[in-house]
């Protein structure tokens, strides 16, 4: 007979999860947002751009899917595997999506960029050869104010090319 685990509002919950392949232990009150937890843990590449789940700057990959980490509680992430932008480059080598963003001038202030890159990561898993329309729809949950999106779309097209030609090992989640 199992006891239902109940955490009171001031009680700390201990969670274990993996971020960018590393095991992490974290203690928090239940209401803490995942984006705050990640940033406290040092993953400041995960950005906060709004408070109504619109902008997508906080996008990370959780258990293989792109999610807005501002709309997930840290406690929900117990036992999960999370990939943030900090986990994309391997041994100093940029991920093809990162290379493509640099190549195509797909960022200006860089604030939306981590979330945009992670969403592109997810999009290209789902649709390895997306059309322009599919790319725009695929990043419709990520707002950018600087670039006008055009170069971001070009970058995703270039990244798709690079990935399909197998230029760099592609991390499987």
């Amino acid at each position: 007979m199992n006891e239902v685990k109940v955490y009171e509002k001031d009680q700390k919950v201990k969670i274990h999860f993996k971020v960018n392949g590393q095991d992490v232990e974290y203690e928090t009150e239940p209401r803490k947002l995942l984006v705050h937890a990640l940033r406290e843990l040092g993953f400041t590449g995960v950005h906060i751009g709004c408070d109504t789940s619109n902008c997508g700057a906080c996008t990370v990959i959780m258990n293989g899917k792109s999610v807005k980490s501002c709309t997930v509680l840290a406690v929900e992430a117990d036992g999960s595997e999370i990939l943030t932008v900090e986990g994309l480059a391997k041994d100093g080598k940029l991920h093809p999506i990162q290379e493509a963003f640099w190549e195509k001038h797909a960022l200006q202030c860089g604030y939306c960029t981590p979330g945009m890159i992670m969403e592109a990561y997810w999009l290209l898993k789902e649709k390895p050869d997306p059309t322009e329309e599919e790319i725009r729809e695929g990043i419709s949950g990520n707002l950018c104010r600087c670039t006008g999106y055009q170069n971001i779309v070009e970058a995703v097209k270039l990244a798709s090319q690079k990935l399909r030609l197998g230029q760099t090992p592609y991390q499987r989640q």
């Binding site: 199992n2 239902v4 509002k9 947002l33 789940s53 807005k68 709309t71 929900e76 969403e119 949950g141």
Partner: protein
């Protein structure tokens, strides 16, 4: 931005979840969290506890038994969009944005019943049924009655949506058309159309409207007009009649006048798209 203090409950089974929810009348179930957590962040809601049901495998399934789909409450919009369910998959693919679809669930969505939600238009047209589970057992309700009013599902404290049942409408033509101010926004109007076409005639027609009332409605008069030979005139008349079922309010997403006008436009689009004429 910062949720208020809340307790957190991790049940190991649906039964445990239901028992806790029944005992604590201001506890709320947490599924995908994409209606609940935004409300917590704006402090519009202050539940005593959140009961995490997101990982209860008992509610996570999507299967076809013969001519009926059983969609577990925890099926995400993403999973449903990939399941090739006539009309419903298309509707799911238009909810929110990609990240929202990865987390949001059908059970959560219909338990919340936002008047602008997309599923209800499709569900009333598909004659969907909802299986509700509580501490005292299960019951099955037509979605049309389950959705009593906006934010008012037929759910008692201590009950959860278990699954959504939909008959297989393969062979039917369908379309879900959503008008939104910009991508990812709430619908200004959403129209779900399901048609049984035999040669040049429409034998069965269903039109569901969402976002233009406190809950989704069937435009029955418009449906009746369509059950005829396929022609421009009947489509035009049906689209006009659909407007009668729209009672929108003026807000920053449009004047009531405008919303009625686009109800007609989108109904026409949905019919034409379903018929492959667009």
């Amino acid at each position: 931005m910062y949720p208020p203090k809340i307790g957190y409950v991790i049940p190991d089974s649906v039964t445990e979840a239901l028992e806790f929810l029944e005992k604590h009348d201001d506890a709320k179930p947490l599924a995908g969290g994409h209606s609940l957590i935004p409300m917590l962040k704006l402090r519009l809601l202050r539940p005593s506890y959140l009961v995490e049901i997101r990982r209860l495998q008992e509610l996570k399934y999507l299967r076809k038994d013969g001519a009926q789909y059983s969609i577990g409450a925890l099926s995400t919009h993403y999973e449903i969009s990939k399941a090739n369910i006539p009309l419903l998959s298309e509707t799911a693919s238009k909810i929110g944005d990609p990240q929202v679809r990865n987390m949001g669930t059908i059970g959560g969505s219909i338990s919340h019943l936002d008047p602008s939600a997309d599923y209800p238009a499709a569900l009333i047209v598909l004659d969907a049924k909802v299986k509700v589970v509580g501490t005292k057992g299960e019951r099955v309700v037509d979605f049309a009655s389950f959705a009593k009013d906006m934010f008012t599902p037929d759910l008692n404290q201590g009950e959860l949506v278990k699954e959504v049942l939909i008959n297989d409408y393969s062979g039917y033509k369908y379309s879900y058309q959503k008008l939104e101010r910009r991508a990812g926004d709430f619908a200004i109007v959403g129209v779900a159309v399901l048609l049984k076409v035999d040669g040049e005639e429409i034998k069965d027609a269903r039109i569901g409207l969402t976002a233009v009332n406190t809950k989704a409605v069937r435009a029955t008069e418009a449906e009746n007009v369509l059950k005829d030979k396929i022609c421009e005139k009947t489509i035009e008349v049906a689209s006009d009649l659909a407007v009668k079922y729209a009672n929108p309010t003026s807000d920053i997403r449009g004047t009531a006048e405008y919303k009625k006008k686009v109800t007609k436009v989108m109904t026409k689009r949905a019919i034409l798209t379903a018929l492959g004429k667009r």
